[in-house]
């Protein structure tokens, strides 16, 4: 037959019929255990409030995100087989993550820097944040006037 050619962009020479990569069962259980441990760590850490350490803010968020990203990588690599599969899948998924990061960074570049050029500009919200330490109550617009 003239259909033996694989046009795709990879260099596999496996037998056509054996297309699956079967992961050993203990790998799955090891990953599962690691995920449980990660969950326990995040929950435990959340009961300790070190929101500011040595002047660095958001330490809790930072720790939680490191753990979450580790967990996510484990799931992707083993449960979702990215470690063994064609790299194009990892590239696909990673590119979504990269564009998500771009979305975050560029949106934050606006919302975290408003009203810095001119003291009159920026959100009422910002005034509200300044007041929040004293009297966290009213809605932003109301407190502005």
């Amino acid at each position: 037959m003239a259909h033996a050619s694989v046009s795709a962009d990879h260099g596999h020479h496996d037998d056509e019929q054996h297309i699956a990569h079967v992961t050993p069962i203990k790998v799955y259980f090891a990953v599962w255990a690691a995920l449980i441990v990660g969950t326990v760590i995040t929950v435990a850490v959340s009961y300790v409030d070190f929101n500011v350490i040595l002047g660095v803010p958001n330490v809790n968020l930072f720790v939680a995100m490191i753990v979450a990203i580790t967990k996510a990588l484990l799931v992707c690599a083993f449960f979702m087989h990215l470690k063994y599969d064609n790299k194009i899948f990892a590239v696909t998924f990673a590119s979504a993550a990269i564009f998500l990061a771009i979305f975050f960074l560029l949106t934050f570049s606006d919302l975290m820097t408003r009203g810095q050029v001119d003291d009159k500009q920026g959100t009422f919200v910002k005034d509200h944040r300044a007041q929040q330490q004293v009297a966290p109550s009213a809605t932003p617009q109301r407190s502005a006037h």
């Binding site: 056509e16 297309i19 979450a68 449960f79 194009i88 899948f89 590119s95 944040r129 966290p136």
Partner: protein, 225 residues
């Protein structure tokens, strides 16, 4: 269908080889998962923006969520990911009774998803009871409304995000249960073997994404307030 020139009954007419077909299916589902990430993106971006704008409100509101329930659900989803991954593993193997094993593992996944939703139901009904709801349903006049939240009018923002994120995630869980059920039906018909497991693998990938979203949702909503 003009697939008669293939000797493999699982191969669609426009593919040349099983590997090509499998990889096409998987690339398709991975692209779908990529779009899912972007689908959730705006909610995460918005949540993080309002977290940094109103740290005290966020802090107070997040403390109204039940960490034990959230943590329990995290464990439930991790376990369901494991059973799903094992189901894919058995679908890939030509061992005796592999379809039976796939069926039972899928059933376990399905049941764990159900447990997740039941816990979610208790969380939601508590919020409905005390009035910590989004937008126009936010009701500080409710007698059981958490006292600490009374001073934050804009806490309705937090609960807006809470319900949008968990609601959208919940819809994904429901959809996942649907497709897992479909796999169970096909496993009952002994359809899966080492040449034909793409459906199980694709559903598995989708289910792991549902888990992945929750892995980020849980700390961001419940823990980092």
């Amino acid at each position: 269908m003009s697939g008669s020139h293939h000797d493999n009954p699982y191969l669609a007419h426009h593919f040349d080889t099983p590997r090509q077909q499998l990889e096409a299916n998987k690339l398709g589902i991975w692209l779908f998962l990529g779009q899912e990430i972007m689908f959730f993106s705006a909610l995460f971006v918005g949540l993080m923006i309002f977290r940094s704008w109103y740290p005290q409100m966020y802090h107070t509101a997040a403390h109204e969520l039940s960490v034990p329930q959230g943590a329990f659900n995290t464990i439930v989803l991790i376990c369901s990911s494991l059973t799903m991954a094992l189901a894919v593993r058995w679908a890939q193997m030509d061992v005796p009774n592999n379809n039976r094993t796939v069926f039972w593992l899928c059933l376990a996944t399905f049941a764990l998803a159900g447990v997740f939703l039941v816990v979610k139901y208790f969380e939601y009904s508590h919020k409905i009871h005390v009035g910590t709801l989004p937008g126009k349903f936010f009701d500080p006049s409710n007698p059981e409304f958490p006292a600490a939240l009374k001073q934050f009018d804009n806490a309705k923002l937090f609960f807006g995000f809470y319900f949008c994120l968990t609601g959208l995630h919940g819809i994904h869980v429901l959809a996942g249960m649907g497709v897992i059920g479909w796999i169970m039906v096909r496993a009952r018909r002994n359809e899966f073997n080492s040449k034909n497991f793409a459906a199980v693998e694709c559903v598995g990938l989708y289910w792991h994404l549902v888990d992945l979203v929750w892995i980020f949702l849980f700390p961001l909503l419940y823990l980092v307030g």
